[in-house]
């Protein structure tokens, strides 16, 4: 993971001009699909994702049903044209893993005991990928679940922090900056990536993954940054939902 590229300068300015604690631009639109029960389109830097929710509906195949509560089945899928070298269609090991940890994160948030034997299907489709698609996907899924009217404890939101610009001498890292929301080069040539998802009202962590190299202090800093990022994005999620339903509310009044 060596790179000659300087990902961050002395003043903490990053390749794309962002400061260390700045997010890329995020655009969220709720209710974009006609057929799905709930949906969301989200742009996050160069990422474009769509999430669609179907359910609660009968869980099929039957043996997957839980007689006491609903199951949440997230499916993360990348379009063949979403990456530089065409990706073979269909699930690979990476997307299966992301689907699993996303399902588990969402299952914690949804009030599943209200719908025994049911499934809530969350389809996340990555149309354009540029670092951080799992966070973008989960954030879109949160809005789509709310748009579908699925009862939840909170609206889940995800964001990553990481470390870039450290000197790597035979695996011994020194220096480096902890930054929010890694961009493409930062993801490829950075030193660590820490995506998390939280329930923003309580700050409970519902998804956490990490790869690379962080000291304990750097981890604390990165986690703090990612949490703040999540809170910022949480506001955008709520604004998107409000835009979608404001006119309906006004008509009802």
């Amino acid at each position: 993971m060596k790179s000659d590229k300087k990902l961050i300068d002395e003043n903490g300015k990053r390749l794309d001009g962002r400061g260390p604690d700045q997010l890329r631009n995020i655009k969220i639109e709720a209710g974009v699909l006609h057929r799905a029960d709930g949906s969301c389109y989200l742009e996050w830097g160069g990422n474009k994702v769509i999430a669609a929710v179907y359910g609660p509906r009968e869980a099929i195949p039957k043996h997957t049903q839980n007689p006491l509560k609903a199951i949440v089945k997230a499916r993360y899928n990348m379009a063949a044209f979403s990456v530089d070298d065409r990706k073979r269609p269909g699930p690979d090991r990476r997307s299966q893993e992301i689907s699993k940890v996303t399902s588990e994160a969402l299952e914690k948030i949804v009030l599943t005991d209200q719908f025994p034997r049911a499934a809530i299907d969350v389809n996340i489709e990555v149309l354009d990928a540029e670092a951080g698609t799992r966070c973008a996907g989960l954030t879109a899924a949160g809005v789509a679940l709310a748009d579908a009217g699925i009862p939840m404890r909170d609206i889940p939101v995800a964001c990553a922090a990481g470390k870039i610009g450290a000197e790597n001498n035979d695996g011994m890292f020194s220096g480096g900056f902890v930054v929010l929301d890694l961009g493409k080069e930062e993801d490829n040539f950075g030193n660590a990536d820490l995506p998390i998802a939280i329930a923003p009202r309580t700050n409970d962590i519902i998804l956490l993954q990490m790869d690379g190299h962080l000291t304990f202090d750097e981890f604390e800093h990165a986690l703090d940054l990612a949490m703040k990022g999540c809170q910022e994005i949480s506001k955008l999620q709520k604004e998107a939902l409000l835009r979608r339903y404001k006119s309906d509310v006004e008509v009802e009044e």
Partner: protein
Amino acid sequence: MTISPVIKQEHLYKLVEQGKRADGRQFNQYRPITIEPGIISKAEGSARVRIGNTQVIAGIKMSIGDPYPDTPDSGVITTAAELIPLASPDFEAGPPDQQTIELARVVDRGIRESEVIDLGKLCIIPGEKIWIIFIDIHIIDYDGNLFDAASLAALAALFNAKVPITQLMPMLEKIKEQYPDAAGYLQEHPEDYPLPLRDPPISCTFVKFNNAIVVDPSIDEQDIAEARITVATDPKGDIRAMQKGLKGSFTADEIKKIIKDSVINGSDIRKILKESVGT
């Protein structure tokens, strides 16, 4: 058949007897069509097509590969469709089923056999290196008539596509070392250039139920259809591809009328395509 389609069927049957459709359209009238090209930055070409509530995204990726032995001087096209569970409660994850494969093959034939792409111009070294074009079609929202939406999205994405010379320059340089002949190709094409395309044929799909024939079926019309036919016609009004589906039948006169309606609708759609991709 469940109860609700029976009720829907009776309703739609009654309407067509009075010359009407559920959404107020004429029998030979399409739903509104919009085309947005260039929406995916990672793709060499892309487009989103909406026909009513049906929404399809097509993306083009290109890579350098080896030609087939029987066509050593021609580029290669590969078309795949994904009916992802995002688009409809009835679509399931997993390997492509028959419906998906028929869709991809009909779109592929419409592009391949009509020679929209001048494949002869996608050769880098005859017999050795050619361009491979991957057309991937994602159904995002399903409200009927995937054939026309998918074909149109594939065409719009092709017109939006650029051959990625700059991006693949390191690979092209390597090819040049191996085959000095490649210098000629690189001299002619020093940077990204649009795909060599001809005026395309446009597909129009019709379904028949209760002795009425309607164009651009909505999902309810498609669900009760007895027979379906897709006709692709070119700018001269000639027929370039056809595919009949489902268990019902058409008379010869019906087919002739359908072809005439295809030419009229096709020329309107071709206008929308050209305006949106700017050719």
